[in-house]
């Protein structure tokens, strides 16, 4: 491919590339419910196989290979394309395979299912019913993803190409208006115009802070200096969050394009992606995208004949959570210890190598080309007053539809959890939802109707964070949940400032005390006062938010904490040390099976007489409970 040298070249390239995508695009809108097969008159079929990390881990690569084998065997290569896409988001039901043009959505496909899909669907045009998604509400099969609740309420901007295009083929990205925004900026807009559009769109940083992106760009633009840098923060680290990874795996060119636009806007010719080394697939796709972008002339010298030059290099992080904090990230890229420093100076004034640097998160960048091609007003029309556009969430925990979703700002937690997420697993009762990862907090039943945006979540003691959303049911102990997150922060603290290094450790020790039944009312006070001081005094965002899970659970589930320290009870039965195993003498027949299996020799009793458990010896392993055939053992 010869690099493009004029913006007009892109239009012709797009027209050529559009053909391969037209089938997919048409099927989005024009399905009639009929399934298509080569024998029933369909000329061309495309099989989209999810190539995200999650589905790959479930052998989706073997699925593609199997399809290829069968196609080669039957010499049908010319009629059927196998396309490896990025993540579809519906990870709960992966691996996902989609058949175009009838838009059939197969879930939990195994390589062994491939011959059947091939023979019945691709050849004969009959759907394989057993692989279709079953609506839990109606019990009926749903063939088209558009009619699955999980997708119905979503609005995909950042994820617009994920699960739709082949991320390793830049032409498919171009066919979806890719690089049009860059061409537009370079040929028709001044850097100030670009910044003006981003400001107008109301886009706020998706990494957690929610700082207005346009303002950030403006600061970097105005900061004096010949050499400036654009940094993409791909150090995604919240437990359970994987939106950035999915975007890089599913639509890497959107990041490349956005970084080039940012470079043009702020006056930088050098971009860096800081990505954790444990994202090998994302790294591979990103590298492929960068190489292709260079080949097509979207990176390099004199891009599209504009005189603007920009290139991107990749820097690997070792996986420290704190390196997601922008100053720590910059220090890490410089080869220094990954720890934050005081702001100001902000990276926009003195960042990488002391030069003005603009750091944006992956999801933030992914929104940029869409804003510029579809217009800032369009973007600003989505969302709430102060939070515009959409937000991607990684939905996890005790929820039916685990996966990656994108919804307009202002969607309520209830819609996310019940409509998209399909409600709580096994019909259990909703207890809380944790948003914002280890920096966020837990929200309860009463918060379910709050429209999700940056400010509303903050007001309730939680935060947007990077978009982790973990749903909990009545079997979850809120003290243990707080303990889990704090353990993560203690593990991930860089150790620089006192409140985070020692304070969080002491908080964790206090929670340990409570969950092991040794807590006192005094400890609850300690949690609250210490937590507040840590928030008030810690150096960086990590430390300032680390007590949130403790403080928010203390606020919303105080009673549960009190039960732990006052009654030494854990209502969710998660805190082992607080459980008491006992034998109902009326039900026990003295079979001695429990005593024989007890590893701690805590059960005594003569044969054929009721047994008893010595609580001092009992290690609460649950072995007796599992072995008793007479339901004589209870746990309280």
């Amino acid at each position: 491919m010869k690099a493009l040298t004029r913006p007009e070249d892109l239009n012709s390239l797009r027209r050529d590339a559009a053909a391969s995508l037209s089938l997919r695009e048409k099927s989005e809108t024009q399905t009639n419910g009929q399934s298509c097969g080569l024998e029933t008159g369909t000329g061309h079929i495309q099989v989209l196989v999810c190539g995200g990390t999650g589905c790959k881990a479930s052998s989706s690569q073997l699925i593609s290979e199997k399809f290829h084998e069968l196609l080669a065997e039957k010499k049908l290569d010319a009629h059927v394309d196998i396309v490896t896409t990025g993540c579809f988001g519906f990870c709960e039901k992966g691996p996902v395979v989609k058949i175009i043009p009838d838009n059939t959505f197969y879930t939990q496909v195994t390589p062994e299912d491939v011959p059947e899909i091939f023979a019945r669907h691709i050849i004969k045009g009959e759907r394989v019913e057993r692989l279709l998604y079953t609506d839990p509400k109606t019990g009926l099969h749903v063939s088209d993803s558009k009619h699955i609740d999980f997708y119905r309420k979503q609005m995909r901007i950042a994820l617009r190409n994920c699960g739709f295009i082949d991320p390793e083929n830049i032409e498919e990205y171009i066919a979806r208006d890719g690089y049009a925004a860059l061409a537009e900026c370079l040929s028709k807009m001044s850097p100030e115009d670009v910044i003006g559009q981003i400001k107008l769109s109301g886009l706020r940083g998706r990494g957690g802070g929610g700082f207005p992106t346009g303002k950030k760009w403006e600061l970097a633009r105005k900061s004096p200096g010949d050499v400036k840098y654009v940094v993409c923060n791909a150090d995604e680290g919240d437990p359970g969050a994987f939106m950035d990874r999915s975007i890089m795996e599913g639509d890497p060119n959107s990041i490349v394009e956005a970084m080039a636009i940012c470079g043009y806007a702020i006056g930088a010719s050098h971009g860096l992606v800081y990505i954790r080394a444990e994202y090998p697939l994302a790294i591979h796709r990103l590298k492929t995208a960068i190489a292709q972008a260079r080949e097509y002339g979207f990176l390099g010298k004199n891009i599209l004949g504009s005189g603007f030059s920009f290139d991107i290099e990749i820097r690997y992080g070792a996986g420290a959570f704190v390196c997601g904090e922008e100053t720590a990230l910059i220090h890490s890229m410089e080869g220094c210890r990954g720890e934050p420093t005081m702001k100001p100076p902000f990276p926009a004034e003195a960042g990488y190598l002391g030069k003005p640097t603009n750091v944006n998160n992956v999801e933030t960048f992914a929104n940029i080309p869409a804003i510029l091609t579809r217009g800032a007003e369009w973007f600003a029309s989505i969302g709430t007053e102060k939070s515009k556009g959409t937000k991607v969430f990684a939905l996890a925990g005790k929820i039916n539809n685990v996966g990656l979703i994108e919804v307009p700002m202002g969607t309520t937690l209830r819609e996310v959890i019940y409509d998209i997420g399909g409600g709580i697993k096994d019909g259990r009762k909703f207890k809380a939802v944790q948003t914002g990862g280890p920096s966020g907090g837990c929200l309860t039943e009463k918060h379910l109707d709050i429209p999700i945006d940056f400010d509303n979540l903050l007001a309730e003691g939680s935060m947007m964070g990077s978009g982790g959303m973990i749903v909990m049911d009545e079997d979850d102990c809120m003290v243990s949940v707080a303990r889990f997150y704090l353990e993560f922060t203690v593990e991930e603290s860089c150790g620089k400032c006192t409140p985070c290094r020692i304070g969080n450790k002491r908080l964790l020790e206090t929670l340990d005390k409570i969950t092991s039944g040794k807590g006192t009312e005094e400890d609850l006070k300690t949690l609250s006062t210490l937590g507040k001081v840590i928030k008030d005094t810690a150096l960086c965002g990590l430390g300032q938010t680390s007590p949130n899970p403790v403080l928010s659970t203390l606020r919303h589930f105080h009673e549960e904490y009190e039960e732990h320290v006052r009654d030494h009870k854990c209502r969710a039965r998660q805190c082992k040390a607080l459980l008491t195993y006992s034998i109902d003498s009326k039900l026990c027949i003295g079979c001695h099976l429990c005593a024989r299996n007890c590893p701690a020799e805590a059960i005594i009793g003569d044969v054929r007489k009721p047994h008893i458990i010595n609580p001092a010896k009992c290690i609460r392993c649950g072995m007796c409970l599992a072995r008793c055939k007479f339901k004589a053992i209870s746990v309280n």
Binding site: A320, R337, E339, T341, M342, P344, V490, E491, E492, S493, C494, G495, K496, C497, T498, P499, R501, I502, G503, K505, R506, E509, T526, T529, L530, V533, K535, D536, T537, A538, L539, Q544
Partner: protein
């Protein structure tokens, strides 16, 4: 351009400061003393540590969500700051309590007790209980090197040592390793300091606010030696000690306590009290001769001769170039340090004169320095395993010993050093301040080179506290260019230049510690006040000015030493006893 003046309000007082001033400095300006712990800013030197990490100095800033560290938050126009609200006082106390919860309660036996910044804070914050104690203590190493004791369980992670070791000294021996609660300061890969590039300059010890880094104490050993009737124990005192020891007894910084120090040493039971200044004069004779030799050869067209000549009195500096510049070991002078010259002469010439067998003679040095302890231990300064200087104790250790021996220092009469090794000129005295060695050398080199008497012996251009200073001296038509650097980071710049062939000097003086020996790692703690260093340097120049003899080669006992024993500078005997060689110690 003059910085813009801005006005802010601190605790209801208005204060106007230049833009860029921190809240801490602005508060100080109006007499509000905000407590700090990790922060240090030795103004006028390059010693600075502002990580804003301890969070002791937090204050309330109107309109700001969380508390701001005063040490690193810049003032802005119209800012409203409150430094003593309940919220602030509570936060500071909790932060201090947290630090104490990861700090061993060993104050009673800690060498830093009484001068520990953490202890002072605990007192100031009225901490009477330890609410967070009882938890886990972070795992940290202990190590005894020849000079420095590392007791890292006391480390509060202020990073002052790290800043000094990396930014000021550019040695890079200490840095943060591991993360979170397990973070500690250590050489890379948690090696021992003795296996690292550490130069034992002791600047880390000089800035450590707690007892994590302290000197290797030899006072108990000294007490035993003094009590041994079989042994003759003699002492030499380095020039910088007299200008600082008074501080330990409540005298103002810069008080010259030479006479009282001599009296105290006699009281302690030393058999003879001598002066390292004598050996400093001797150093000038040898180093000066070597310098003249190289210059004469150079001016005679010898292309092989290595210039500039670098001084070699500072043992930390010697360690530094042995570790970091092993390709340039032939540039420094081969002259031993004054401490070692003294030991060598004391255990040969003087011992022979007085008939004391070497094994019964104990030579002790009082030094402002920790590297001197290591230097005593170097094998090349031993004869049959017996060191020329048995051991070195610091100014701080001496002060402790004087207090322990119930000696009322301030009430002591002024006494004189013993002869002959206590005789010195003003040139020897100024060795203790940066530039002093060069000035002393210039006084002698000028006269020896030109054969003319030197009118004004004060070379003002080489004095002062600028990190690198340069001067040129007219030696009868030949312009001698000299340079002075103090602080190893400054030395590194000069050495890198020399390595890359960009040298403008004939001779360079280098001292490892900022300010020279007066700012040594063994001196009374400056607690971040740089005025102390200036006062000490002035004291030395005052002593020099008061001396009748101010040129090393005029010292009558030095003349006697050469006549009776050494012959002339750089004679075979002088080479053997007063010169040394260097080793490649690159890691």
């Amino acid at each position: 351009m003059e910085p813009r003046q801005i006005t802010l309000q601190i605790d209801h007082h208005f204060v106007t400061v230049p833009e860029g001033t921190t809240i801490l400095d602005a508060a100080q300006k109006i007499g509000i003393d905000i407590p700090t712990l990790c922060h240090i800013d030795l103004k006028g030197t390059c010693i600075r540590n502002t990580p804003a990490s301890c969070r002791i100095c937090v204050v309330e800033v109107e309109g700001r969500k969380n508390l701001a560290p005063a040490c690193a938050t810049k003032c802005s126009d119209g800012m409203v700051v409150r430094t003593s609200t309940l919220r602030v006082m509570n936060a500071r106390k909790v932060v201090a309590e947290l630090i104490l919860s990861d700090h061993p309660n060993e104050c009673l036996t800690c060498p830093k007790a009484g001068s520990c910044d953490l202890q002072s804070l605990a007192l100031r914050f009225n901490i009477r209980e330890m609410p967070f104690n009882g938890g886990e203590l972070s795992p940290r190493k202990r190590e005894y090197t020849a000079s420095i004791v590392r007791n890292m369980d006391k480390c509060i992670f202020c990073r002052r040592c790290e800043s000094v070791c990396n930014e000021v000294q550019t040695v890079g021996a200490l840095g943060a390793i591991r993360r979170g609660f397990n973070t500690t300061i250590a050489p890379a890969f948690d090696k021992m300091m003795s296996e690292s590039e550490c130069t034992y300059c002791g600047q880390c010890v000089a800035v450590c606010p707690v007892g994590a880094l302290t000197e290797r104490d030899h006072t108990n050993r000294l007490v035993e030696d003094l009590a041994d009737p079989e042994k003759t124990v003699i002492v030499q005192t380095a020039p910088a000690v007299r200008a600082a020891i008074g501080e330990e007894f409540g005298l103002p910084a810069g008080t010259l306590a030479t006479g009282k120090m001599v009296a105290a040493l006699r009281e302690l039971g030393f058999d003879y009290v001598f002066d390292t200044d004598f050996a400093a004069d001797l150093t000038i004779m040898e180093e000066g001769a070597e310098m003249l030799d190289r210059l004469t050869r150079y001016l005679g067209g010898d292309k092989e001769v290595r210039l500039p000549i670098l001084t070699s009195c500072c043992p930390a500096w010697v360690n530094f170039f042995e570790h970091q510049f092993p390709d340039m070991l032939d540039i420094p002078s081969t002259a031993r340090s004054p401490q070692q010259m003294f030991g060598s002469i004391a255990k040969t010439w003087w011992a022979e004169k007085t008939g004391i067998p070497r094994e019964k003679l104990v030579v002790v040095s009082i030094m402002p320095c920790l590297a001197k302890k290591y230097e005593c231990d170097r094998d090349e300064f031993k004869t049959g395993g017996n060191p020329d200087v048995d051991y070195s104790i610091t100014t701080r250790e001496l002060a402790r010993l004087i207090k322990r021996a119930n000696i009322s220092f301030t009430l002591l009469p002024d006494m004189e050093f013993d002869m002959p090794l206590g005789a010195s000129t003003g040139a020897g005295v100024i060795f203790g301040a940066t530039g002093g060695v060069m000035e002393a050398a210039l006084r002698t080199v000028y006269e020896l080179y030109t054969g003319k008497p030197l009118g004004n012996v004060n070379f003002q251009a080489v004095r002062g506290m600028a990190g690198v200073r340069r001067a040129s001296v007219d030696l009868d038509g030949f312009e001698l260019k000299v340079g002075i650097a103090h602080g190893l980071g400054n030395a590194r710049h000069l050495l890198e230049d020399i390595r890359h062939g960009r040298n403008e000097y004939h001779a360079i003086e280098i001292m490892a510690c900022p300010g020279g020996c007066i700012g040594g790692g063994g001196q009374p703690l400056h607690h971040g006040h740089s005025e102390v260093l200036y006062a000490r340097a002035n004291a030395l120049y005052k002593e020099d000015a008061g001396k009748t003899l101010r040129k090393s080669h005029e010292n009558p006992y030095i003349k006697m030493l050469y006549q009776e024993f050494l012959g002339k500078p750089m004679s075979e005997k002088a080479e053997q006893l007063l010169h040394t060689h260097y080793f490649n110690k690159s890691c």
